[in-house]
Amino acid sequence: MDMLLSSPTFAFIQVLNSISLGMNLFIIAAGLSLIFGVLRVINFAHGVFYMFGAYIMYTVAQDLELGFVTGVIAAAAGLAVIAIVVERGLFQWLYDKEHLMQLLLTFAIVLIMGDLAKIIWGTDQLSVSYPDGLSGAVDLGVTFYPAYRMMLAVIGPVIFIGLFLLIERTRWGRLTRAATQDMEMLAALGVNVPVIYVTIFLIGSALAGVGGALAAPINSPTPGMDATIIVECFVIVIIGGLGSLWGTFVGALIYGFVFNFGSVIVPNWQDVFAFLLLMVVLLIRPWGLFGKPEREGH
């Protein structure tokens, strides 16, 4: 706490850390929120998708030495393939069933993929190097800051703008928004709704993969990393409002700040602050800051 008040540079670094963490989490949480917004599926397997992204990054960039960018692309492509298999093979049969069935299914995927990861990559903590050119620090005038974290802080808003334009400004985006409101009517207008569903699931899951790949140099790939991230993502999307892109963006930033400053003000209490915030939002505005109250009988 004293450090924050006495050293503006220290406080400034904490601000950057908050943004960097928030933006890395945004990439992952945006996928979760997008999938819920359109498919109405709460995908608990999103965390394990993230973990697979990190492991794929390890294999491609570290093991096979094919480079960092290839690793990110491979993680996105790998998760896209997994998403198609999971959506077409499993989820598509559950859309008209109750939410509990979907939840149980996503839990099953968590367990299966979690064990699969242990079989493929073992249980050791793996380490992924920073990419060339981003392993050093950037001179910001007042202080130096790790280039890699700086890149995370930039890439999040880029993905946010990309998603925003896709959903709000393209015809495909209009179709997905229509699908969230009335998929039956959309089908009666000649739109092949299942194609929209699988595409959304693919994009959302690929975001988890990309998020995992980008997090790999900071959070070394290890079993159980999926459990931490899924909780963080849920806190973010509930604060921001499930299904809202703006909400996820703002929620991720808020989470980043609360987590970082919380750990500085009262060390080891960062999770407590995050959950306190979650409780306050749930009590005052249960549909989140940018969400809309659910209509009855959706």
């Binding site: 229509a178 009517m185 009666a188 000649g190």
Partner: protein
């Protein structure tokens, strides 16, 4: 050859059967009406044709293709437009967005687009950016028909278009649907408003408990008030 042939269809929602062998034909350019009280199976007949509640028995042939068990989006793409009773505007999409998502070029390239749709429903032009959810009943009805037209159908299923609208709005709507008929569009019209039906229809089918009980022209119906008495009064 009829454009649409509905051949003795039986349709159920789960265990409850609603249609018990409905049959009728639509010739190109005709307006065919399904009339009857609430719950006699008019909407279910529409939903069976568009494929949202497929028939369990019987056959539906559209322009020579058996569409009985096709997915709704495929039936729509063949040229069947559906205007549901509840209108089902996408509430969070703007009027223009509601139209845009239904856009499909016509086969001859001379079909419906925004300009033609706005010429038919001028009120929609001024409210293009308004969210669908805040429109009045009349505006919603115009939009739901306009949206179907953007699909460039050759057959339109119109489910109770006049329901809940003010008399003046109903009159305008009737004239607009007449223009659609005159443009050569075939229409299956489910309606309870008899003057609306009589004005537009070439042939009427009276439904009762999921069956066709009477078929005739509007003149036949006028000549038999006892039929109307039996099946249409509450």
């Amino acid at each position: 050859m009829p454009q649409l042939e509905v051949q003795s269809i039986h349709t159920s929602y789960g265990l409850s059967q609603v249609l018990f062998g409905i049959s009728f034909d639509v010739e190109p350019g005709q307006v065919i009406s399904l009339i009857g009280r609430n719950g006699v199976g008019k909407t279910t007949t529409m939903r069976s044709i568009i494929g949202l509640t497929p028939a369990k028995q019987g056959k539906i042939i559209f322009e020579g293709t058996d569409i009985t068990n096709l997915a709704a989006y495929k039936i729509s793409r063949l040229g069947v437009g559906f205007v549901p009773e509840e209108r089902r505007i996408f509430p969070q999409l703007s009027v223009w967005e509601n139209l845009d998502i239904a856009r499909r070029a016509s086969r001859d390239g001379k079909g419906w687009d925004e300009e033609r749709v706005f010429a038919l429903f001028p009120d929609l032009r001024d409210i293009q950016s308004r969210p669908g959810g805040v429109l009045s009943g009349g505006q919603q009805q115009m939009l739901t028909i306009a949206r179907s037209l953007m699909n460039n159908p050759s057959l339109l299923l119109l489910d109770e278009p006049s329901e809940g609208l003010a008399p003046k709005v109903v009159e305008d709507l009737r004239d607009q649907i007449k223009l659609l008929k005159d443009s050569g569009l075939s229409i299956v019209l489910a309606e309870q408003n008899l003057s609306f039906v009589m004005y537009l229809s070439d042939k009427c089918h009276i439904l009762e408990k999921g069956e066709v009980k009477f078929t005739g022209t509007p003149d036949d119906l006028r000549a038999k008030p006892e039929i109307l008495e039996q099946y249409l009064t509450l």
